[in-house]
């Protein structure tokens, strides 16, 4: 059996292939059931054992070689075909994409959720109370006596004598403590109301109140918890300070300031040249508040804090007019 010239013959046929149709035809004529190799394999059967093995091996080598050659060629022609198709369907990728519709949360909600997330991770549960409160829950039980300036008509919306729109979320403290025994660990988000309407006040705004009551709750714990909150909310490098203050329902009371985010503590109009921004009020629960809800103030202690959600949102997002939150201008809402 003569296999000399076989490789050359195949080579010359393959090199004459000009397109995918030629390729298909040549492939059949070489590798097909009645193709070139089929003849040789038939002839192999006539050879004796030793010769058959050598010739078989040689033919197989050529066949593999031909396989690879034709495979490469097929890929080459497929690539050309694909390029042609892609060229035909070319689009302008700079045309605008089709965006799915999606909504936005109000920045107050975003801020509230962030505050709740942080305190929830510290083990605080969410509690709620009514917007329309009695003077007892809004004032008396919080140690704000009837002659306190905060109870003037100019600050508080009255529904009727004895019933007010809550001026803070602190009544939720009282309602919660009346309803359960210590330990208490809650935050109370909600709307609050005050008779004010100007560039820095809206008649309704939002607060988050916090309360932790247990045996051995210390002022240092208040500092610890609020520091964690502030560093989570405003970044780990935010300077903060606790400053003695006065609230009727806490003692000692502390106001918490953060380093002004506008001027970085250098002093500017926003921080009134102090370098600090007041962001929340806090303190150890006043013993009178415990007495008012029937807790044993010798046995347990606690801390409370409260913050304005709008104020925190304004600081976080750089909003300079609180009324923006309530115009609900789409050009405002779409920024968050």
């Amino acid at each position: 059996m003569d296999i000399s010239g076989l490789k050359e013959k195949i080579d010359s046929e393959v090199s004459r292939i000009g397109n995918i149709e030629d390729l298909k035809r040549v492939k059949v004529s070489i590798l097909g059931r009645k193709g070139l190799f089929a003849d040789y394999i038939d002839q192999l059967k006539t050879l004796d054992k030793d010769l058959r093995r050598d010739a078989g091996k040689a033919i197989n080598e050529i066949k593999s070689w031909a396989d690879v050659r034709l495979g490469e060629l097929e890929k080459h022609f497929n690539d050309i075909e694909r390029q042609k198709r892609e060229q035909a369907s070319l689009i302008d990728i700079t045309m605008p994409g089709t965006t799915p519709v999606f909504g936005k949360k109000h920045p107050i909600t975003l801020t509230l959720e962030e505050i709740i997330r942080i305190f929830a991770s510290l083990g605080f549960a969410v509690a709620e109370g009514p917007d329309i409160e009695t003077e007892f829950y809004n004032f008396e039980s919080l140690n704000i006596p009837s002659d306190h300036p905060a109870r003037d008509m100019q600050d508080t919306f009255y529904i009727r004598p004895g019933v007010v729109l809550r001026t803070h979320t602190s009544p939720v403290q009282i309602r919660t403590m009346e309803a359960q025994l210590p330990p208490v660990k809650i935050i109370a988000p909600g709307s609050v109301y005050r008779c004010d309407n100007d560039i820095s006040h809206t008649p309704m705004f939002h607060q988050v109140e916090g309360l932790m009551v247990d045996k051995n709750v210390r002022f240092s714990d208040l500092k610890g918890i609020l520091s964690i909150f502030i560093h989570d909310m405003f970044g780990p490098d935010t300077p903060l300070r606790f400053r003695p203050s006065y609230f009727p329902f806490t003692e000692p009371s502390a106001e918490v300031d953060i380093g002004c985010v506008i001027c970085r503590g250098q002093g500017c109009r926003v921080c009134k040249d102090t370098g600090w921004l007041e962001i929340l009020g806090s303190g150890m629960v006043h013993p009178q508040v415990f007495r008012n809800v029937g807790y044993d103030q010798e046995e347990i202690t606690g801390f409370a804090f409260g913050m304005g959600v709008e104020r925190i949102a304004m600081i976080k997002f750089g909003i300079d007019d609180i009324r923006q939150f309530y115009y609900n201008d789409i050009r405002f809402l779409s920024q968050f």
Binding site: F102, G103, I108, G123, P203, K223, N328
Partner: protein, 793 residues
């Protein structure tokens, strides 16, 4: 409270920078809100001595002065009349600048050349006094540059005094805190009261107090032969810098001592006190009284009144009467220094609408032990300023009170604060603010509280004092020792989270409106009187009529919000609000309910280069609600609506288990016009309470069918009177193998034609054509049995 550091320096030595002092006061709980640096607003002004005054030859009211500046003698024309030879005066020389834009030039005044001008205090920006030339103290050497003198410089601290710290409403009160900060001891002013006359006050005036609860201490002193005049510069300057206005020496002294010591004083014209007596009474019944500002004030039971032999002469602690006030003719004066009940003063001041510096201090509670000292201090200053003779002795009634004592342990202190403050540090801290330990044991001590500290009544108050003196910055940050318990979300929170997530995913922008609206909104929406939404809760003192009542429905505020945006060029809006509505219930009760409100207008996108977006219609708002309900595991139905504000062609009630949970649809166009809206708005309002009750968020896996599903399409003619929902329900009821029924086409020629796709699915085997064909026949059979439905060939 405005505190000039120059004044403060009289009681403590301020040896730190004002900025540092401000910071340290702030960290003590006395927040310094402002720091006003007073610097000279002039230059080129020197001190000179008047050596000669001649009348101006050409003008009656001008004089020609010779001023010796130590180096030269200058001629100056002057219009003031308060000057005399040898007076030391400020001379603005040629080229001097006064204030922002006034430069003194050399000029002829009625023919006489003037080499500068003599200045008033106002021209130098020192006080508001422009009544004459500023006469300098003799101690100022001629030729001294005025801008370099200390009188031209000061720093004024604006201290925000907490409402419970009435003791800090005086320069001395602040000085006590500053002394504690600087480890000094504040010193009261030192003076000797002299010039006693012959008689005794006890012989000349009577004093009686009817109620020592209303007035536990009253001191009355007399001074005779005074002459009213302006106060000297130093006093006027301090009063001005403290934010008050100088008036005359007598009034100024009362204000000065109040600012200095915190004790309000009142001066009566002694000759005008009938029967030369003072009685402190508590009013019984109503009457009228004319105060010194010539206004008739209504008095009520409980007001504390100062009376003479004939009737009231002052409303105690608030304002004196016209009938006894000091006038230019006053020669003899009676001075009141007293302690009045803070609650009573506050009630009266509040009712009369008068919040004076005096009433403010009485309300907060003054130092009862300081009442007599303040009276002497005022007498001394009046004598210095207005001359006259101080009458010996005084009338006084003083119901002394025990000083308060509090027992406290060290473990109370360190336990509450989370600190390890030493015994010594505790003692030192308390002593620095005049809280002295009277008795000590192993665990703690008894501390006595001075009467000026009205805010200290129990151990927590003492701990507060220790904490702020120790410094909050020296208290560590710790973690609470209690066990951390994971907090589960409440059912309500889980629902609200899902709703917000749904709204976000479906393109709604969340809005937040005020909880108030107007009665007009209820009328606009045609809500009938027997509807719960007309039972609004009114606000007694609203900001405005537009926000006069608590809202009973969400949609009016949401519409306003849409109008706001449409007016500003927006065309396509998708809004969502979660909020509360409020209802008046019987027997004075009020109920609150959380609502969800959706509103859409325009279309999903204004334009797209690929396809046109259709305008929103009823099915967009309905679909929004259906999708939400499905998400929350609620099955809801729609029913015909009776809502008066909905377009009845395109409106529906949303029902859950037969209960009305809300409505959806287009708002009537005539109502939209009331809100100045021109385009159609589709809205829905839903009761969150019902959704919360009926919803089901349980997640439970159901096996996925292993067998293929089959579909068949049907077309029917359906009369307009037959709701399509009936067909869908009917088909679904035929077999559990029917897992979904959808509408894929609807058109109207002579009759309404509806095409439906039904999906068949078995969990047990592959459905054969025969079985599906049988079901198909059954569907056709059942539906065509209904009146008004026929199969479309």
């Amino acid at each position: 409270m405005k505190v000039p550091i120059e004044w403060l320096n009289e009681f403590v030595v301020i040896d730190i920078e004002p900025e540092d002092l401000a910071k340290r006061l702030t960290m003590r709980g006395l927040e310094v809100e402002g720091l006003e640096k007073l610097a000279p607003r002039f230059s080129g002004v020197i001190a000179g001595t008047i050596t000669r005054i001649d009348a101006h030859p050409n003008a009656d009211n001008l004089s020609v002065c010779s001023i010796n500046t130590g180096r030269e003698e200058l001629t100056v024309v002057c219009g003031a009349s308060n000057i005399s030879v040898n007076d030391r005066v400020p001379l603005a020389t040629v080229g001097a600048a006064l204030g922002q834009d006034f430069v003194v030039g050399r000029r002829k005044v009625r023919g006489i050349e003037s080499f500068g001008m003599l200045c008033s205090e106002k021209e130098l920006g020192l006080t508001d006094d422009h009544s004459g030339i500023f006469i300098l103290p003799d101690t100022v050497t001629p030729g001294s540059v005025l801008a370099d003198l200390s009188i031209a410089h000061d720093t004024v601290l604006d201290v925000s005094v907490p409402p419970n710290r009435g003791d800090c409403l005086s320069v001395f009160g602040i000085a006590r805190e500053v002394a504690s900060i600087l480890r000094q001891k504040a010193k009261l002013p030192n003076f000797t009261l002299q010039a006693y006359g012959d008689g005794r006050a006890e012989d000349e005036i009577d004093l009686a107090i009817h109620d020592t609860n209303a007035c536990p201490r009253y001191v009355l002193k007399l001074i005779k032969g005074i002459s009213l005049a302006p106060s000297p510069f130093w006093m006027r300057r301090r009063i001005t810098r403290s934010g008050m206005r100088p008036i005359n020496n007598i009034v100024d002294v009362t204000n000065y001592v109040m600012l200095e010591l915190g004790q309000p004083l009142h001066a009566f014209d002694f000759e005008r006190l009938t029967e030369s007596r003072i009685e402190v009474k508590v009013a019984q019944g109503s009457s009228n009284f004319r105060t010194l500002d010539s206004i008739d004030r209504p008095l009520e039971t409980g007001d504390i009144l100062i009376c003479d032999g004939s009737g009231p002469v002052a409303v105690a602690g608030i304002m004196g009467g016209e009938n006894s006030e000091i006038t230019g003719a006053t020669k003899n004066m009676a001075l009141e220094s007293a302690y009045f009940n803070p609650f009573s003063i506050r009630a009266t001041a509040r009712r009369l609408g008068i919040r004076s510096e005096a009433s403010l201090r009485f309300e907060k509670g003054i130092d009862i032990d300081n009442v007599g000292y303040a009276a002497e201090r005022a007498m001394y200053l009046m004598h210095e300023l207005a001359g006259g003779t101080v009458v010996k002795g005084q009338r006084e009634i003083f119901e002394k009170r025990e000083s308060r004592t509090i027992y406290i342990t060290y473990s109370n202190i360190n336990g509450l604060l989370g600190t390890h403050i030493s015994r010594d540090a505790v003692t030192r801290a308390l002593r620095s603010i005049d809280l002295h330990i009277t008795k000590e044991d192993e665990n703690g001590f008894i501390v006595s509280v001075p009467n000026f500290r009205h805010d200290i009544g129990e151990t927590a108050d003492i701990i507060e004092e220790i904490s702020r003196i120790h410094g909050f910055e020296h208290i560590p940050d710790t973690s609470p020792v209690s066990v951390l318990k994971p907090q589960k979300l409440t059912r309500k929170e889980r629902f609200l989270n899902l709703i917000k997530e749904y709204c976000l995913g479906t393109g709604f922008y969340e809005i937040i409106n005020f909880s108030f609206f107007s009665v007009k909104d209820i009328e606009n929406f045609l809500i009938p009187g027997d509807d719960e939404r007309s039972r609004y809760v009114p606000i007694m003192n609203p900001i405005s009529r537009d926000w006069g009542v608590m809202r009973t429905m969400m949609i009016p505020s949401v519409l306003r919000c849409m109008a706001y945006n449409l007016n500003r060029g927006a065309k396509n809006l998708r809004f969502f609000e979660k909020g509360k509505v409020f209802f008046r219930e019987s027997a004075g009760g009020i109920s609150e309910r959380t609502m969800l409100c959706f509103a859409i207008t325009g279309r999903q996108k204004e334009y797209s280069w690929k396809e046109r977006h259709p305008d929103y219609d009823f099915f967009d708002i309905k679909g929004t609600i259906e999708g939400l309900m499905e998400r929350l595991g609620v099955s809801c139905q729609v029913g015909a609506t009776t809502e008066p504000f909905l377009d009845h062609g395109r409106g529906a009630d949303i029902m859950i288990d037969g209960i009305k949970a809300g409505w959806a649809g287009a708002i009537r166009d005539d109502i939209l016009q009331l809100y100045e809206i021109e385009q159609t708005i589709y809205c829905a309002e839903l009761r969150f309470d019902i959704i919360l009750e009926k919803g089901n968020l349980t997640l439970q896996y159901k096996p996925i069918p292993r067998y293929p599903q089959s579909t068949r399409d049907f077309s029917f003619y359906v009369d307009d009177g037959v709701p399509i929902a009936i067909l869908v329900e009917k088909i679904k009821g035929i077999s559990p193998l029917i897992v979904s029924v959808g509408i894929f086409d609807m058109f109207r020629k002579e009759m309404r034609s509806v095409s439906m796709r039904v999906v068949f699915q078995s969990y047990e085997d592959t459905l054969t054509d025969e079985r599906i064909n049988a079901l198909q026949e059954q569907i056709i059979g059942e539906l065509t049995k209904i009146d008004g439905i026929s199969l479309r060939a």
